[in-house]
């Protein structure tokens, strides 16, 4: 009876430890909390919300002037397609976050069009970084009516864009391997 009680206690500890570990892991990852595609003017666009939980070391690098570039990998494939079939859409949408010490603000830059937005707080800047609104996905005419297409998005920190001296460390450290899971849904025109 006592042994059983101890076993239960041990089990609780293990679960708690695992929960804590997962919490820690979750604290340093990207989470796509919302992702959808909407048909807008004959074009499918993506609306998504991504929570960027950067690691302490990444945030420290940001505060020290290292720009962080997040990459949103977007893919559209015909559902049930063969492995050798080309993706209908496969592109990367990138945003860069960097700190401006003079104004003590954060700037989010869309790499594609170069548009910049400044935010006085990091939290707001991270929210803006993860807010994807009406991002063009694919023109409706490229999709066949009645067929299903799988849309997949994944966001990750682009290590290759980090300064060269930081890359070896980033390659070898899990603190820098920040990415979300693949998030997928199906659209059927």
């Amino acid at each position: 009876m006592i042994r059983g009680h101890k076993g239960l206690q041990f089990g609780i500890w293990v679960v708690a430890a695992l929960w804590l570990a997962s919490a820690v892991i979750r604290a340093e990852e990207f989470i796509i909390t919302k992702a959808e595609s909407v048909l807008l003017d004959e074009q499918y666009v993506i609306n998504a919300e991504i929570e960027y939980h950067f690691s302490e070391v990444a945030l420290k690098a940001l505060e020290n002037g290292v720009p962080l570039l997040v990459d949103l990998h977007v893919q559209v494939r015909r559902k049930g397609s063969w492995i050798w079939e080309a993706d209908i859409v496969d592109y990367h949408f990138r945003r860069q976050l960097h700190y401006l010490p003079l104004s003590e603000s954060y700037e989010v830059v869309d790499i594609a069009d170069g548009s910049k937005r400044r935010f006085i707080s990091r939290t707001i800047a991270l929210e803006a970084l993860g807010e994807i609104s009406e991002l063009p996905l694919v023109e409706a005419e490229k999709l066949q009516t009645g067929k299903s297409y799988r849309v997949e998005i994944k966001s990750e920190l682009d290590i290759e864009s980090l300064p060269v001296p930081l890359r070896p460390t980033a390659y070898m450290s899990s603190k820098w391997k920040l990415a979300s899971e693949w998030n997928e849904w199906v659209i059927t025109p």
Binding site: N64, V66, L100, L102, S103, P163, V164, R167
Partner: protein, 737 residues
């Protein structure tokens, strides 16, 4: 030896192949690793393209180093194994590897340590506290300058907004144009509390609608009474602007005023900001840089050490290889294998010279060995030839050294002396003398000559033994070596007993023939003349004269008859007899002859022992009976005047290594032979008896020799004579013997 040689050569070849393959492997592993390290070093520094390959290069390098480490461990294990097995060259290899390590490790470690120190200090020296402070100060200065501008623009904006009193949109639009002109702002925008634009005015007449809309958070902040003054690029230009967002104290309106900073301030603040950002970034990357360089240096260090260790193994093996070959070669030589040829080295150093010299030496040794083997073979052939010749010689040959030790003896020597020479090789002459009485006599005769410094010694030596007389014609010559020094004596001897006997027999034959011719022939006329004288004058002569004549003629006739008998007997002895042989059982014949003496009672003196086990002879029974009669009669005559006379007649079968023979001994306890006559007792007319022809024993000897046997006479140690006969037996079933 052939196999050994083959194996040895295979081993040498494999060492050579290993050497080449080792070098190839060395190049295959080391070169890519070196290139990879170089690329990695570049990747760490500043090459964007290569930085993508950093992780593959790192994995490749670590894998390469691990492979190198594995090879080194294998080499190490192999070397320790060789050392424990005490293989040739293993100790030298281990010593050289250790020396290489001792020589290479400290410098590399020192270079590594100081490089690391230098690197860290170099990187740290980029960052100075003063520069850090100056940059912070300049940043603060920039901020103050901007703050000043911001406060000024805020105050201006506040004053502008206070001038707006009419809340109608039209009035606000008109007032806004005036205010824009007064304030010097780039743009003025009036919004309601929800952020909706009521009116806007821009110094650019074409710009009717404001560039950016305010963010909800700012509107919320300002609506709650806050004031926002931001510095940021505005519109499409990258020039810094001061954006002031404030709320009217009374009216529910929000003013966004955008002021352009002067170019100088904008550039200066931007420059300060970029410099601070760059400096802070570099300062932040300092540790990463140190880590990267340290890791690269460490990899280079490990690579250098591993390469040095491997090079140590390779060089040691390369250097030790010829020495090991030579060691293996010398072992092979010690084991008697002279066919070893060591593989020649590519280099032309002293070791190569040593290997070449070793090979030359080996070839010469092999040639010398072959020559020696040929010489030995020739000597063996010569020896065999000599032994064959000596073996087939009827003369006995013996070789004694200076110490009178028997070195060589041929078969005839053993046969003549009746000794086993093989057993007596390397024995002293005194040991030979102890073999038999005869040999002892012979050695006594030649003993002095064996050490005398004479060129040739020749003697006819007569020996007496239980089997009769033996006459040896002995010649002794010195045995010289190649320098002419005497190293021994060669003794050559011939048994000339039979030759002398034959000569004597021939002489006796001649005597007999002459007797027959010269004496017997005149006897008949003498006898006839005497009988005629008697017949013619006996009746006519007076009685007294007739009596004399009768006596004289009678004596003449009688003596002539006696002389005739004597000459006939002698002639019979001298001329070769014709044997009519047949197989007969000797014991039966002997018993038959002895039985004839039973009637006269003389058989009582005899003790007959028949022990031939029925052995058969191929003999003439008549002649053999004569032999037995003669011997028995001689014995009876010898014991005629002896008390307790005793004659022992013993037949036996003698089984000896040289063959089976039959022996007959006749022993008596009479006076024995006169020592003076003993040597010639079988010669005709040699007798100590008053009666008799003197041919008895001579005839016996003749008959025995005609039957292939031999006879010997001697005196018994106790008393009396001993006559011994040997006769060959018929081998009925040789397999049983």
């Amino acid at each position: 030896m052939g196999n050994h040689t083959l194996n040895g050569r295979t081993k040498f070849t494999s060492i050579r192949k290993f050497s080449h393959s080792g070098l190839l492997l060395l190049l295959l592993v080391l070169l890519p690793l070196l290139v990879s390290l170089h690329l990695m070093s570049n990747a760490i520094q500043n090459t964007n393209e290569l930085s993508r390959l950093f992780i593959p290069l790192l994995i490749f390098n670590i894998f390469g180093l691990f492979l190198l480490l594995t090879l080194i461990i294998m080499n190490l294990v192999k070397m320790i194994g060789q050392y424990r097995r005490r293989e040739p060259g293993s100790r030298l290899t281990m010593r050289m590897v250790l020396v290489f390590l001792i020589l290479s490790l400290p410098p590399v470690s020192v270079v590594y340590y100081y490089s690391l120190q230098f690197l860290h200090q170099g990187i740290d020296s980029w960052f100075d506290v003063k520069i850090d402070s100056a940059l912070d100060d300049s940043l603060e200065l920039g901020r103050s300058s901007l703050e000043l501008n911001k406060r000024q623009f805020l105050r201006s904006s506040q004053q502008l907004l206070n001038q707006v009193e009419d809340s109608s949109e039209a009035a606000m639009a008109i007032a806004l144009v005036d205010l824009l002109e007064q304030s010097g702002a780039v743009e003025l925008v009036l919004m309601d509390l929800n952020g909706r634009v009521i009116s806007s005015s821009n110094i650019n007449p074409e710009q009717i609608v404001p560039d950016d809309t305010l963010e909800t958070s700012i509107i919320q902040l300002v609506r709650d009474g806050g004031r926002v003054v931001n510095v940021s690029p505005y519109g499409e230009s990258e020039i810094q602007h001061v954006i002031v967002v404030i709320r009217h104290d009374i009216l529910p309106i929000i003013l966004q005023a955008v002021y352009s900073l002067s170019d100088e301030i904008s550039q200066l603040t931007e420059s300060v900001q970029s410099a601070v950002v760059r400096y802070k970034e570099l300062a932040f990357l300092r540790e990463s840089l140190k880590f990267n360089f340290t890791m690269t240096l460490l990899l280079v260090l490990v690579f250098s050490v591993f390469a040095a260790v491997w090079a140590a193994f390779y060089s040691a093996r390369k250097l030790v290889s010829p020495i090991s070959d030579i060691a293996a070669g010398t072992r092979a030589v010690a084991a008697g294998d002279y066919e070893q040829q060591l593989p020649l080295q590519d280099s032309h150093d002293e070791l190569s010279f040593l290997v070449t010299s070793f090979n030359t030496m080996m070839r010469r040794i092999a040639q010398a060995r072959d020559q020696a083997a040929r010489s030995q073979r020739m000597v063996e052939e010569q020896k065999t030839y000599l032994e064959t010749v000596l073996g087939h010689l009827s003369s006995g040959v013996m070789v004694f050294d200076q110490q009178k030790i028997l070195q060589t003896a041929n078969r005839a020597a053993g046969q003549i002396l009746d000794i086993n020479c093989d057993r007596l090789i390397h024995r002293a002459s005194s040991e030979l003398a102890a073999c038999s009485e005869q040999v002892g006599q012979w050695i006594d005769n030649i003993d002095q000559a064996l050490v005398e410094d004479v060129s040739e010694w020749r003697e006819e030596i007569t020996l007496y033994g239980p089997e009769g007389r033996l006459v040896l014609l002995t010649r002794i010559s010195p045995l010289l070596d190649s320098l002419g020094h005497v190293k021994g004596r060669v003794v050559v001897f011939d048994d000339i007993t039979r030759l002398i006997q034959a000569q004597r027999n021939a002489a006796w034959g001649e005597v007999a023939r002459r007797l027959a011719h010269e004496i017997k022939n005149p006897l008949t006329p003498i006898q006839l003349s005497a009988e005629r004288l008697r017949h013619k004058y006996l009746s006519k002569m007076p009685k007294d004269d007739a009596k004399v004549l009768d006596k004289a003629t009678h004596t003449i006739v009688q003596q002539v008859d006696a002389m005739k008998s004597m000459v006939n007997a002698f002639s019979d002895y001298a001329k070769p007899s014709k044997l009519e042989t047949q197989p007969l059982v000797f014991d039966e014949l002997l018993a038959e002859v002895i039985s004839l003496y039973e009637a006269s009672g003389e058989a009582e003196k005899m003790q007959v022992l028949l022990e031939t086990e029925g052995a058969k002879l191929e003999a003439d029974p008549v002649r053999l009976r004569q032999v037995i009669h003669n011997l028995v009669k001689n014995a009876l005559e010898a014991v005629a005047e002896t008390e307790n006379a005793e004659i022992i007649i013993r037949s036996e079968k003698l089984v000896r290594p040289e063959g089976v023979s039959l022996g007959l001994e006749v022993l008596d306890n009479g006076p024995g032979f006169d020592e003076a006559f003993l040597a010639n007792v079988f010669e005709p007319y040699v007798t100590n008896k008053a009666k008799g022809t003197g041919l008895g024993l001579a005839v016996v000897k003749k008959i025995i020799e005609e039957h292939g046997g031999m006879i010997a006479a001697s005196n018994r140690a106790e008393a009396g004579a001993r006559l011994m006969i040997r006769l060959p037996v018929v081998q009925e079933n040789p397999g049983e013997e």
